[in-house]
């Protein structure tokens, strides 16, 4: 029985962070786990920062992860990994997609955007273990341009301590996502999994 497993998904609106949380939660549901999902909807459509908390296991009561309590962070955008540091601790395994999405002030040179090294350095200082994945490229190369979220899911499933099983995740992909995109999503999933497979 899983006591408590906390997955945090951090993204920019439009990247599919909410869809990813649905896939994970439905997989956990199929697996018969207790689940709490906390989401801030509303800003998702318009390019704002979006966070989903998915808490699995008997001891998950609140829908928000206690500070420092994430077991896994799936960051679909590099600076979004840094934004949620409050929830990270020395036990957190972080998967970061390396492709940045720049806000307009950054493009105009009016605001700074951290380098990938700065971000990973800051997270390592917290004690996190970091896995860097170019999920946007994997999505492109597997001809699944809108599936970078599922590529990150594949990478997560390559980590040995993933609580979900491959079968339930694939079943959830089938049940949760539109059938016409299933092939694309499975390709992106496989691409992400291989990127972190040892």
């Amino acid at each position: 029985m899983v006591k408590e497993h906390n997955i945090l998904i951090s993204s920019v609106g439009g990247q599919g962070g909410i869809t990813l949380s649905r896939v994970i939660a439905n997989a956990a549901m199929i697996q018969g786990l207790n689940i709490r999902v906390g989401e801030t909807l509303g800003m998702a459509q318009r390019g704002g920062a979006v966070q989903s908390h998915v808490r699995l296991g008997e001891d998950a009561h609140g829908s928000i992860i206690p500070s420092g309590g994430a077991d896994v962070l799936l960051a679909l955008e590099p600076s979004e990994a840094a934004r949620v540091s409050k929830y990270l601790g020395s036990q957190t395994r972080v998967i970061i997609n390396t492709a940045p999405t720049y806000p307009i002030p950054v493009m105009l040179g009016q605001a700074a955007y951290p380098s990938l090294d700065e971000i990973t350095g800051a997270l390592e200082a917290i004690g996190c273990e970091i896995f860097v994945v170019d999920a946007s490229r994997i999505a492109r190369e597997t001809e699944a341009p809108r599936s970078l979220n599922i590529a990150v899911l594949g990478a997560y499933m390559a980590l040995s301590e993933a609580v979900l099983t491959e079968d339930t995740v694939k079943e959830s992909l089938r049940k949760t996502l539109p059938a016409r995109y299933l092939e694309q999503n499975l390709r992106a999933y496989e691409g992400g999994r291989q990127a972190l497979a040892i």
Binding site: I35, L41, R46, G47, V84, I104, P105
Partner: protein
């Protein structure tokens, strides 16, 4: 949503409310969109036909509630939904209907927003239970949300009183497992029998009797709520107790299971009536009591009053002694710290870790919310700003009042147009007041279509009646955009997506008595600018309807144009377009503007403002 009894589903709080309505055999569901309550009607509208339920959006919350009262008087069950601000709008009717009797069950679902995920105010609707004297349930997760709605209908019919079910963002938008119950078939009853001593407030004698009865009705619910929605767990000898309600209850459960502390707990699921017997039992035994509730110290003050009525000394921890805040939402850490303060434990603080976490977060750039690519409001504000400038005013010489919705995003750079934001429809009344106060320069109100129908019509009549020279700019994107694209009378279809005739805002404005009205396309900057210039110079009330479908709706209906292109040869890299329009489809590569071909909606605004004609597009 229509699964049989005993199914296990992972549902969002609002979906669970919808399921509760289906189980309760609700005949009519009506609401006005507002985060975080919107998904109830959205969910029900998808299953309305199969479930044999009538589902509709009203133009505002008061109208929604009045419809609900009518449904009840007509003998059927009605669920009315709204966000906390909507309760203010509906309150006039609610307080009155509360005094009378009902026929069919009437339940109001209201969702608050501690933590301000959707902006606006952090209003605590529980206080409205004290004001209206109505029964109110307060839920912690999806299962409770569903169960509360089903029970609320029972209470409502048993006691002939409207019942409020109150939720909050984290519950309404959070997901947790739900076990479904049976779907009831509830027969409609005959409509109300004429009895003006019950159904009018016209006589003080009747009203006093009604007032007395209302108090008795709510009080009579104490035994039911104590078994249905409140749980006291207390062992002999426990000296510490915690009372918690809403989402805080879950954080408390997390804290207790992590720390294994030994405290008595009382889960409060009914705000009105409170479980007074259980509270009395708790107060009779413990010496220290912690009240955990978001926003106002509603329960805490009641506990203190109850303690004062006894001869016991009980130390009450909560907001008043600074243990917990009344601003913002709660989380695990706040509740954990409060529990440890109660029991004399010490919270292990890792300052070094906190500092590292803060340092890492500070790296993240701000992501402000711009208009979407292809948003028509972008054109409206550019045209307004250009008109102000061409008439020889500086931007800070013409007051532009803002209103609720995506339209208010015009307050941000690079537009910097709107000066204020009050409440639905207020933009127009405020311009009238500015004029009455003696502001000489033109004043402009900007308001969206849904907001205009909600509360913008009365002040438009006022402007015409008083012949006050204000400019009413209705940014009509034919949808309720900010809350996630619910139809309104300007959309041409209803909650079930069935086509219905559009109601034209210019015709309403004309009928209101405004003589100078122009309808323009905000993607045509020249036309829109000229309309603003005329209106700004007009010496009576005037209106401009800037009509163009919301880009996200247009995209879904495949009505947006092909993406625009930048001619790299002609682009000088001045970035005037990026600075002026701040469109998220724009990218900068090697100093020049490039247009993202996946996200550009081909609105053509950038092509119209490029000083070097380097952009091609916008032929929709």
């Amino acid at each position: 949503m229509l699964d049989e009894e005993g199914s296990h589903k992972l549902l969002m709080g609002n979906e669970a409310v919808a399921r509760g309505a289906i189980e309760a055999g609700v005949h009519v569901a009506v609401g006005y969109p507002g985060t975080p309550s919107t998904e109830v009607i959205e969910t029900l509208s998808r299953y309305a036909e199969q479930a044999g339920m009538h589902v509709e959006w009203a133009v505002n919350e008061k109208v929604a509630f009045d419809i609900g009262a009518g449904v009840s008087y007509g003998g059927a069950r009605c669920l009315v939904t709204m966000k906390s601000a909507g309760l203010n709008v509906a309150s006039d009717s609610i307080v009155s209907v509360a005094y009378g009797d009902l026929v069919g069950g009437l339940v109001i679902y209201v969702a608050d927003d501690p933590g301000l995920h959707a902006g606006m105010e952090e209003e605590d609707s529980r206080v409205f239970a004290a004001l209206s004297l109505l029964p109110m349930l307060d839920v912690s997760d999806s299962q409770e949300s569903k169960d509360a709605v089903v029970k609320a209908f029972e209470y409502s019919e048993q006691h002939s009183v409207p019942v409020i079910v109150r939720s909050t963002s984290r519950v309404a938008h959070g997901k947790s497992p739900v076990e479904t119950g049976p779907i009831q078939k509830v027969p409609r009853k005959p409509h109300l029998a004429r009895d003006i001593s019950v159904f009018t407030r016209a006589s003080p004698v009747w009203c006093k009797q009604q007032h007395t009865r209302l108090i008795e009705k709510t009080k009579a619910l104490v035994p039911s709520v104590e078994t249905d929605f409140n749980r006291l767990k207390m062992k002999k000898g426990q000296r510490h107790g915690v009372v918690a309600s809403g989402v805080s209850w879950n954080y408390l459960m997390d804290a207790l299971s992590r720390h294994g502390v030994d405290v008595a707990t009382l889960k409060i699921g009914s705000v009105n009536p409170l479980p007074v017997n259980q509270l009395r039992e708790l107060i009779g035994q413990v010496d220290r009591l912690l009240a955990v509730e978001e926003l106002e110290p509603y329960i805490e003050l009641r506990i203190k009053a109850m303690v004062a009525d006894t001869d016991r000394k009980v130390k009450v921890l909560g907001k008043q002694d600074g243990t917990l805040p009344s601003v913002g939402e709660y989380d695990y850490d706040l509740v954990e710290e409060a529990v440890l303060k109660l029991t004399g434990g010490e919270k292990r603080c890792d300052d070094e870790l906190a500092a590292r976490q803060a340092e890492a977060s500070s790296l993240a750039p701000r992501r402000s919310l711009p208009f979407c690519p292809g948003c028509p409001h972008r054109g409206s504000y550019i045209a307004l700003n250009q008109a102000i400038k061409e008439l020889g005013y500086k931007q800070d010489e013409v007051i532009v009042t803002g209103d609720i919705g995506c339209t208010i995003l015009g307050m941000h750079p690079p537009f910097n147009s709107c000066w204020n934001e009050v409440s639905m429809g207020a933009s127009i009344g405020v311009t009238i007041g500015l004029k009455q106060a003696g502001v000489e320069n033109p004043v402009v109100a900007t308001i969206g279509d849904s907001t205009f129908f909600h509360a913008g019509m009365p002040p438009a009549v006022n402007a015409a009646w008083g012949d006050t020279p204000v400019v009413i700019a209705v940014l009509d994107n034919e949808i309720t955009g900010m809350t996630g694209h619910q139809p309104n009378p300007a959309s041409g279809y209803n909650a079930l997506r069935k086509p219905v005739p559009r109601i034209k805002i210019e015709e309403i404005l004309g009928a209101a008595g405004i003589k100078k009205i122009k309808v323009v396309d905000p993607f045509d900057l020249e036309e829109s600018k000229e309309a603003f210039k005329e209106a700004l110079q007009h010496d009576g009330p005037s209106a401009i309807v800037l009509r163009r479908m919301c880009a996200l709706v247009a995209r879904r209906q495949r009505l947006t144009g092909p993406p625009s292109h930048v001619d790299g040869e002609k682009c000088t890299g001045c970035l005037h377009c990026v600075r002026t329009l701040s469109c998220p489809a724009m990218e900068i590569r090697e100093g020049k503007m490039e247009i993202n071909q996946n996200t550009c909606e081909g609105c053509g605004l950038c092509a119209q403002i490029c000083p070097f004609q380097a952009i091609e597009g916008g032929d929709q």
